[in-house]
């Protein structure tokens, strides 16, 4: 049986820029009453989220005291997490062997796949299924969207991808198969539309969904016809297309069911893309919260910026582009600036965690029932190094994980071990993932 929890009667989502504050969640939280009715199910809910921070970080301002197993005073970059300290764990000593030889493309591609990218710029790209998509195949079966892929970059830029690697490696965090990179959406209005449809009354929405279903039927029919026209080698490709069609059909069915169960009244939808990065990112995090809260999806990946991003961050006083700052040549001034960007990214994530925590669900809150992995595919970006990665695990996984700890591995440990552990925590029956050589159960279990 498919369940979906109520959303508040009215939410406020506006991408109108600086003059509009973001009362969205504060205004919404008191309205949350429906959750208690489904309290029992809420506690069994499993959600996984992945947030990617590009181009590593200044580990000297990130790493907690190596000798302490508890998080005491947080280092500068992690400072914004102070108020949710009890719900996070910092992991040190993780590595991505499959990202070598060091490049930006592979930092991104190996992060969730723990797989080596085939060196090619053509259509024969090959990676591996990513952890979020493994999760989506199980956790996403009954939700409207099996997973949600988000990013912050609206433009495709020329000449920013590593030579020899197709841009999909650098820009797509999630891959649903070794040959299927998933496009991420950066436009808040389109994300909103994906989550909540185009609005209208129940009858209108159902009629629209019904029409859409019959349109998809026709695509399917025509695709089958095409299959007969072409050679056997290409039929595999058509089968992939047919799988995609079936998946969209499934989404429509779930949405149609939700339309009757849960009439969504007039939502103020986001109109544009906020000017400032901070507001845009906050809006993207808010959309994640709404998606999780409404149980529209249970798996999310979000790229805070792409690798080699030359974004500047004037809102925190950094007018240098991020990428050249990461090649700091150990210049202390540049490192300090880079660390400020790192801290800024962490602060956006921290704000999100605070909102999750402030959103009651069942006997706890959303953060208790979610697991988020935050980190980068690079350690020290100056070296294009993929060892000693900055990694945070946040959330309680419905009471399965105790927070506030610093978990340090003396021997470099594959990030895939963490992926595997998180997937198991989320209830997946899985023995290995990527280049994993074990799990970290002992470390992540409740103390």
């Amino acid at each position: 049986m498919i369940t979906r929890k109520s959303l508040p009667r009215r939410t406020f989502l506006k991408g109108l820029g600086a003059c509009v504050s973001m009362p969205l969640l504060d205004a919404m939280i008191p309205a949350m009453t429906a959750a208690s009715e489904t309290a029992a199910s809420a506690e069994k809910l499993r959600r996984l989220g992945y947030v990617y921070m590009p181009m590593g970080c200044d580990m000297s301002r990130w790493a907690p005291d190596p000798d302490s197993q508890m998080l005491g005073d947080l280092p500068p970059i992690l400072k914004p997490l102070e108020s949710v300290q009890d719900s996070i764990n910092i992991l040190s000593g993780m590595e991505l062997q499959k990202a070598y030889p060091g490049s930006h493309a592979t930092s991104n591609s190996a992060f969730l796949s723990a797989a080596r990218a085939k060196v090619t710029e053509s259509n024969d790209y090959y990676l591996g299924i990513t952890a979020d998509q493994v999760a989506a195949k199980t956790l996403g079966q009954n939700t409207q969207l099996p997973s949600l892929e988000l990013s912050m970059d609206l433009l495709s830029l020329a000449g920013q991808c590593d030579n020899g690697y197709a841009c999909v490696y650098q820009n797509c965090l999630s891959w649903s198969s070794p040959t299927t990179p998933l496009p991420a959406e950066a436009h808040p209005a389109l994300v909103f539309e994906n989550l909540f449809g185009s609005g209208g009354t129940v009858a209108q929405r159902q009629a629209a969904l019904k029409k859409r279903a019959s349109l998809l039927d026709s695509v399917s029919e025509e695709m089958q016809r095409l299959k007969r026209e072409i050679g056997p080698a290409d039929r595999i490709r058509v089968s992939d297309y047919l799988d995609s069609i079936r998946e969209v059909e499934r989404r429509i069915q779930v949405a149609a069911m939700n339309a009757t169960e849960n009439p969504l009244p007039d939502l103020d939808r986001p109109t544009g893309v906020p000017d400032s990065y901070a507001e845009h990112a906050a809006l993207m995090f808010d959309l994640q919260l709404l998606a999780l809260q409404g149980d529209i999806t249970r798996v999310i990946s979000f790229q805070l910026a792409r690798e080699t991003s030359n974004r500047t961050y004037p809102e925190i006083g950094i007018s240098d582009a991020h990428h050249p700052l990461t090649h700091h040549g150990n210049n202390p001034e540049k490192i300090a600036k880079m660390a400020k960007i790192n801290q800024f990214h962490v602060s956006l994530f921290a704000d999100f965690l605070k909102k999750l925590k402030a959103t009651p669900e069942g006997n706890g809150n959303l953060l208790d029932h979610s697991l988020y992995l935050y980190g980068s595919g690079m350690g020290n970006p100056n070296l294009h190094d993929h060892t000693d990665l900055p990694i945070i695990v946040a959330g309680g996984a419905a009471g399965n994980i105790a927070g506030g700890r610093h978990i340090r591995f003396d021997k470099p440990t594959p990030l895939a071990n963490l992926h595997l552990t998180l997937l198991q925590k989320a209830g997946l029956d899985l023995e290995s993932f990527g280049d994993s050589n074990g799990t970290m159960d002992s470390l992540l279990n409740s103390v």
């Binding site: 710029e121 649903s176 026709s218 695509v219 058509v238 069609i245 969209v248 240098d320």
Partner: protein, 814 residues
């Protein structure tokens, strides 16, 4: 014969000193391998023999290459010592080394090898060896007969989709608001397009609904709102092109209104960080114009107290009657005198930077269009005229009429003749939506049928249909319909039109004279603007301009107006070459460009007034002209705070010389040991960097090119001096040739124009084919360049060459 290039101090491209290569053992080995390959040559007959390298090029390799590229040292992982022996033995193994030899040829053509400080061949030795190697490689390509294959299925890119809708339905849409962005490979977004993910499919379905509704102007109870915003760093003190003279700032919205009726237009003004409306001095007047006709006018005054700023622009709202179709909605201010207001920091030519450089008058922040209220019955729009060519008078005619309309539309949409089976689905949708009253609900029926066409795989996918009886790996000529599509997607980024399809149907398109005249026609058509807005924007990184934000303290006058003007200059320049069919070498060296006042002021070229762009003849003292002096290119290859000789050099290597540097080596040195002093200049820091042999092998190629461009700052202004010191522009080309200015660099690049033309051709071919070019395509490229040289490399000749090339006309079966 040009004198041998001078040795360039500091740019020692080799990581090993020359003397290392010439020890005794190497010399002995050299001697032995000179003998072996020559001895190995046994008499081979016919084609096989013709693949062998001529003696002259073999001797060249022995004399000038083997010192470093031998089995022991394998400089740059290249071992030429074993290769010549192989190629002497049989043609099979030569093909195996084909790629390596194409690589060697490229290095010789660009005179990158041997390095300037080595024993250098004379120019005539170069020419002979290159000629010999070329002819051997051309014969190899001919015999191998591998035109390459594009995948069987490729979906339309977002740009192609937008253009296809424009041509199919006469409807201008903004596809970026409907579909996710495409990812690029080899520098273009039309290559990695084989996936159809659920997210994308979902968006296609949604887009089909929206587009069909707009196209037939279906009345909808739904009120739609749309907000257009002006970037905050746009200066609104000057006249905006397209708006009446005597106005300043604001914007012109080119908007499609599907349904005629009343629309609410409301305007919000730009606010500063205290939420106060900017530039509220004196009284101002805002006007709303529809197609240049003033429809409403508003007075704007400074509120009496600060709390009223919140509501001081609420009255800027009007409900106006708008006819259906494409309309130009203007929102602008009546211009006041140009006198400058006194404030503490004067004068600066920007007025948007909040407190520092305040705006002198109010500026538009956003315009929202909400409607239609009181929608009227649909009237004739371009789309409706295009679709409803025919209408049924009574019930019995309806299906036949619908069939005619849908047959015509699907033929263009699917780019091939339409079968009855193709019409089955659209007609089902027609009948389902039209219900029982086929006349009254005719339009609703067509709308539904259109939706089904727009989500049909035959529309969304470009499908390579190969002959049924063909075996995998064999080569076949593409059929006339595929040729028509290849042509239109290459030159228009869109669907073939009726004329092209008819010529494909009659197979006349295969007639070389007909094909050539069609190429001319397509290039002269307005739709060929796609070569500028799609090809040139990607090739020249013009899209990246949107994302650059130079440091506002260092470059305080950089604003959105300049950003758009920069892009426009390069686009108009490329368009000029396209329209007048000039030599593409003009791109690199030209005595004219296109400027408006904003850009001319940036370039310090006087007497250019107004927002309109015009062709301007240049004097050498202006330091402008070719592409390498365009602010657009110079800015996108810079960082926010400074220039980057590395990025600029890399760009030239990739796009002008066609020799992209390899990815950074696996053993990137630990820069901890190499902390570079922050007080050094960029040039000095890079010199330090190149002291490391691992970095030097590539940076010795990139950096000197970038140094020659150091006369332009990070936003492309000419700067003979920096911080009181004269800028050092000494740099050079990978051939070792010294360049002391951008003019030297341009001359050096055009010394052997075929190198640039070949690089350009490869880029254009990548774009045309939708796949990366490989060494197997090099021979075809050489042929195109050689043919085009007769007409001094006219752009049309290169296009013609690509269309006639084997990779474009043939395909390897999958």
């Amino acid at each position: 014969m040009p004198s041998p290039p001078e040795h360039l101090p500091g740019f020692n491209r080799q990581s090993l000193p020359v003397s290392n290569c010439l020890n005794i053992s190497t010399m002995l080995r050299m001697m032995s391998c000179i003998i072996i390959p020559l001895l190995c040559i046994s008499p081979i007959q016919g084609d096989e023999a013709s693949l062998l390298m001529k003696k002259s090029s073999q001797q060249f390799v022995q004399e000038y290459c083997i010192d470093c590229h031998n089995s022991d040292t394998q400089e740059g992982h290249l071992d030429l010592e074993t290769l010549p022996a192989q190629l002497a033995s049989d043609s099979q193994s030569f093909r195996a080394s084909w790629e390596t030899w194409e690589h060697v040829l490229k290095r010789l053509e660009t005179r990158q090898m041997p390095p300037p400080d080595a024993n250098l061949p004379t120019e005539s030795e170069y020419v002979t060896a290159i000629g010999d190697l070329q002819s051997t490689l051309d014969r190899t390509a001919e015999q191998a007969d591998q035109p390459g294959a594009v995948p069987t299925f490729r979906r339309l890119t977002r740009t192609e989709y937008q253009n296809a809708i424009r041509d199919l339905l006469h409807l201008q849409i903004d596809a970026s608001a409907l579909l996710p962005k495409d990812e690029a490979s080899f520098g273009f977004d039309n290559i990695t397009v084989t996936q159809l993910t659920p997210t994308l499919l979902n968006r296609y379905v949604k887009s089909a609904e929206i587009i069909s509704r707009l196209a037939v102007s279906a009345s909808s109870t739904e009120v739609v709102s749309q907000t257009v915003r002006i970037p905050p760093d746009q200066t609104q003190a000057q006249h905006v092109q397209g708006l009446p003279l005597g106005t300043r700032g604001g914007l012109l919205i080119d908007q499609y209104f599907a349904v005629p009726g009343q629309y609410d237009i409301s305007v919000r003004l730009m606010r500063d960080r205290n939420e106060e409306i900017e530039g509220m001095t004196g009284e101002h007047e805002l006007r709303m114009l529809l197609n240049r006709k003033s429809l409403a006018s508003f007075k704007i005054q400074r509120p009496k107290n600060p709390s009223q700023h919140l509501t001081a622009d609420q009255h800027l709202k009007a409900r106006i009657q708008i006819p259906a179709g494409q309309q130009k909605l203007g929102i602008t201010f009546v211009a006041k005198s140009n006198s400058v207001i006194e404030n503490r920091r004067q004068p600066l030519n920007v007025q948007f930077n909040h407190h520092r450089h305040r705006r002198q008058g109010p500026a538009v922040y956003s315009v929202s269009i909400v409607g239609p209220y009181a929608a009227d019955a649909p009237t004739a729009t371009a789309s409706r005229r295009k679709i409803f060519s025919d209408r049924p008078m009574h019930q019995e005619q309806a299906v036949a009429t619908a069939t005619r309309i849908l047959r015509r539309i699907t033929r263009i949409a699917y780019r091939r003749p339409v079968t009855d089976e193709d019409l089955k689905v659209p007609l089902e949708f027609f009948q389902q939506a039209a219900g029982t009253n086929l006349v009254k609900r005719f339009e609703a029926g067509i709308q539904a049928a259109l939706e089904s066409i727009l989500v049909n795989p035959n529309f969304l996918l470009r499908i390579q249909r190969q002959p049924t009886d063909i075996t995998s790996g064999s080569v076949y000529p593409v059929d006339p319909f595929e040729l028509a599509s290849r042509l239109s997607f290459f030159l228009w980024s869109s669907l073939p039109d009726d004329e092209l399809l008819s010529l494909a149907e009659s197979k006349q398109l295969l007639n070389p004279a007909v094909l050539e005249s069609q190429i001319q026609r397509l290039m002269q058509d307005d739709r060929s603007a796609a070569l500028v807005t799609n090809f040139a924007r990607q090739w020249l990184y013009l899209n990246n301009l949107k994302s650059v934000s130079p440091d506002a303290r260092l470059f305080p006058d950089f604003d959105q107006n300049l950003r758009t003007a920069m892009r426009k200059e390069t686009e108009l320049f490329f368009q000029d070459i396209l329209q007048n069919d000039l030599s593409i070498t003009t791109l690199l060296k030209s005595d004219y460009t296109f400027l408006n006042e904003r850009l001319a002021r940036h370039y310090e070229i006087p007497h250019i007034q107004g927002s309109r762009f015009r062709k301007v003849a240049l004097d050498p003292k202006h330091q402008r002209g070719g592409l390498l002096r365009h602010a657009s290119l110079l800015t996108v290859t810079s960082y926010a705070t400074r220039t980057s000789p590395v990025l600029r050099g890399n760009w030239v290597l990739k796009n002008i010389l066609g020799t992209p540097p390899p990815p950074p080596p696996e053993d990137v040195p630990d820069l901890k040991d190499n902390t570079v002093d922050a007080t050094l200049s960029v040039r000095e820091r890079l010199n330090e960097h190149r002291a490391n042999p691992a970095c030097a092998s590539c940076h010795n190629l990139m950096d000197p090119i970038g140094f020659s461009l150091e006369g332009y700052d990070a936003v492309g202004r000419f700067r003979p001096f920096q911080e009181g010191r004269q800028i050092d522009m000494s740099g050079g080309l990978p051939s070792g040739q010294i360049c002391n200015s951008v003019a030297d660099l341009e001359d050096g690049l055009l010394d052997r124009p075929e190198i640039f033309v070949a690089a350009f051709t490869e880029k254009l071919m990548t774009y045309a084919l939708g796949r990366g070019t490989t060494f197997k395509d090099r021979s075809a490229v050489r042929q195109i360049v050689a043919d085009a040289s007769a007409s001094d490399f006219q752009l049309s000749q290169i296009v013609l060459g690509i269309v006639n090339s084997k990779p474009f006309r043939m395909r390897t079966a999958e």
